[in-house]
């Protein structure tokens, strides 16, 4: 869009905006990428293929994968409930789903420890004596990751179903289509881009979760490791071990891929 502004002030504003983004985001990223490249391919390989790093990536995949599956099922079910059904307390239910998005990750971790902690948690103590451990183990890490990314899928799908309206759904219902058939033939084609978008956002958020997982995992390294990739970066920096940049570069690459994929899905969703 052509601007009405004269050239000088426009260039001035552009310089300020770009300078700010460069100092805050581009230059710091460039330094990390450059230092990782300078340390060379063998250092990179050693850093990301050590037993500790391999286990960290595996844990990240398990935890993030479980959280994404849980939130996709929850997200689709809740979005359909919110848009196609009326029930008492719906508005409160809708607001409650948004809570996780702005809460400190440390508060999330603490909250889960207070309920599921093995020694004095509300449920955790009896679960622990029954041999089920949630906190300081993988299930707690999945819960924490699911918590922080809970609304992402729901909030992408709800507006799309609302825009689509109810006529097709109701017609199919009148014509005798079952719930599964209506979902597969009508709802799913409607929401597929929004769903894909929500899932990519959830994957990026889940892989990157740090604070909440740090609290509930106990950040255990060595045998019985509960250290994910983000926790490994923290540990390597704080213990002055090499390899933090290399693991970070992998995570940066994942983030950039997520952004690019999202920017490719987005226009399709708007056209649909």
């Amino acid at each position: 869009m052509a601007s009405r502004l004269a050239a000088a002030p426009r260039l001035g504003l552009r310089a300020v905006a770009l300078g700010y983004v460069a100092l805050l985001v581009l230059l710091p990223l460039a330094v990390v990428v450059w230092r990782t490249v300078r340390q060379g391919g063998s250092a990179f390989w050693a850093a990301i293929s050590s037993a500790q790093a391999e286990q960290a990536f595996r844990l990240t995949a398990i935890v993030a994968g479980s959280a994404v599956v849980l939130n996709t099922i929850f997200g689709v079910a809740v979005a359909i409930l919110l848009t196609r059904y009326s029930f008492p307390g719906k508005r409160v239910f809708s607001v409650l789903i948004d809570i996780p998005i702005s809460i400190s990750p440390i508060v999330v971790g603490l909250a889960l420890v207070l309920v599921y902690g093995p020694y004095d948690g509300w449920f955790g103590a009896s679960l622990h004596s029954a041999g089920i451990d949630i906190i300081y183990a993988v299930p707690g890490m999945v819960l924490a990751t699911t918590f922080v990314s809970l609304p992402l899928v729901v909030r992408e799908i709800v507006p799309v179903i609302e825009d689509e309206g109810f006529e097709q759904e109701q017609a199919a219902r009148v014509l005798g289509a079952g719930a599964a058939q209506r979902f597969r033939r009508i709802t799913l084609p409607t929401i597929k881009y929004a769903l894909a978008y929500g899932v990519v956002l959830s994957i990026a958020r889940s892989i990157g979760e740090f604070g909440a997982v740090k609290v509930v995992s106990g950040d255990i390294s060595g045998s019985g490791q509960t250290q994910t990739a983000t926790l490994l970066v923290d540990a390597r920096v704080e213990q002055l071990e090499p390899g933090a940049y290399q693991v970070s570069l992998v995570l940066i690459a994942v983030a950039v891929v997520a952004i690019v994929v999202v920017s490719m899905i987005r226009p399709k969703e708007e056209r649909a």
């Binding site: 869009m1 502004l5 504003l13 552009r14 905006a17 983004v21 805050l24 985001v25 710091p28 990223l29 330094v31 929850f74 079910a77 409930l81 919110l82 848009t83 196609r84 059904y85 009326s86 719906k90 508005r91 607001v95 409650l96 809570i99 998005i101 702005s102 809460i103 400190s104 990750p105 440390i106 508060v107 971790g109 603490l110 909250a111 420890v113 599921y116 509300w122 918590f147 809970l150 909030r155 609302e162 309206g165 109810f166 109701q170 956002l201 990026a204 892989i207 990157g208 740090f210 604070g211 970066v233 923290d234 940049y245 970070s248 995570l251 940066i252 983030a255 950039v256 997520a258 920017s263």
Partner: protein, 287 residues
């Protein structure tokens, strides 16, 4: 980029009214299958979110009001809370201005590399917070190639918060600016209004709800931030924010102390969500 999941841009001339709004007349009543689904969803939400958050509040008030107050005004807690609130306010103000400016440049200006800038704006959303911290430490830490070492200073905390809250205002204001017709601005200009007057009287009233929404989200994020601040704060007392204090109390098994600080952070988050709900409803009514 997670933003669109939370805030529909609070435009005052937004898209056409949606056909089926939540709770509209076309909604069906619950049947057996949908009833069971709702029951399961509510149970899951309770076990995952509601009960744990209730546990935080219960723990913080277990020692009564005085216990809560005592935990909150303990030297470390009070100092951390003060730094957290002040830096969150300052960072929100800076990014409200810079975010609006960046959104304006992205929408109304055209230059090579605009798409790269779009990607860069989303990076703080998509990057793991600990990596964000490491990235900032690389340029502004002890091994800085430009000789700027902020490690262990309060400015470093503010810097990390500026980084993680950068996208909020940009991404709420941008769609409103795209939807805004330039005709009103041209009319104002042709009637002799200066550039500043045009912005203040024509553009600002339209984008203000979006700026406030973005700023509210940025403030909530800054108040609770942990990962990006952790490394660059250097673990020194005077650069410790509330979430770091709460983490330390958890490590010390002082759950009551951690819960008092956590309750304050929780209340701030809830206030922000309610504020956003009000802003969006008001904008929707006006549109």
């Amino acid at each position: 980029m997670t933003l669109s999941a939370v805030v529909a841009p609070a435009t005052s001339d937004g898209p056409a009214p949606r056909r089926g709004t939540i709770g509209g007349s076309s909604s069906a009543r619950l049947g057996a299958a949908s009833g069971i689904t709702l029951g399961t969803a509510v149970l899951w939400l309770s076990l995952l979110v509601l009960l744990p958050l209730a546990a935080v509040i219960a723990k913080s008030t277990a020692g009564g009001w005085t216990g809560f107050w005592h935990a909150l005004t303990a030297p470390g807690a009070a100092q951390a809370l003060r730094l957290t609130i002040l830096s969150a306010l300052a960072v929100t103000a800076i990014n409200a201005v810079m975010g609006t400016l960046i959104a304006w440049v992205l929408v109304r200006d055209d230059f090579p590399g605009r798409r790269l800038v779009e990607v860069l704006i989303d990076i703080p959303f998509a990057l793991p917070t600990i990596v964000a911290g490491l990235v900032l430490l690389a340029l502004y830490g002890p091994t800085s190639p430009i000789g700027v070492n902020l490690l262990g200073t309060q400015r470093a905390v503010a810097f990390a918060l500026l980084f993680v809250t950068l996208p909020f205002v940009v991404r709420t204001v941008q769609p409103v600016l795209i939807a805004l017709d330039t005709e009103a601005e041209q009319a104002a200009a042709s009637l002799g209004a200066g550039r500043l007057a045009t912005f203040r009287r024509v553009v600002l009233p339209v984008i203000l709800p979006a700026v406030v929404s973005g700023a509210a989200l940025a403030f909530a994020r800054a108040m609770g931030e942990y990962g990006s601040v952790l490394l660059i704060s250097g673990g020194v007392n005077h650069a410790r924010v509330s979430s770091m204090y709460a983490f330390q109390q958890i490590q010390n098994a002082d759950y009551a102390g951690a819960s008092a600080t956590a309750t304050v952070l929780l209340v701030v988050s809830l206030l922000v969500i309610v504020t956003l709900d009000v802003i969006q409803r008001r904008a929707a009514r006006r549109g």
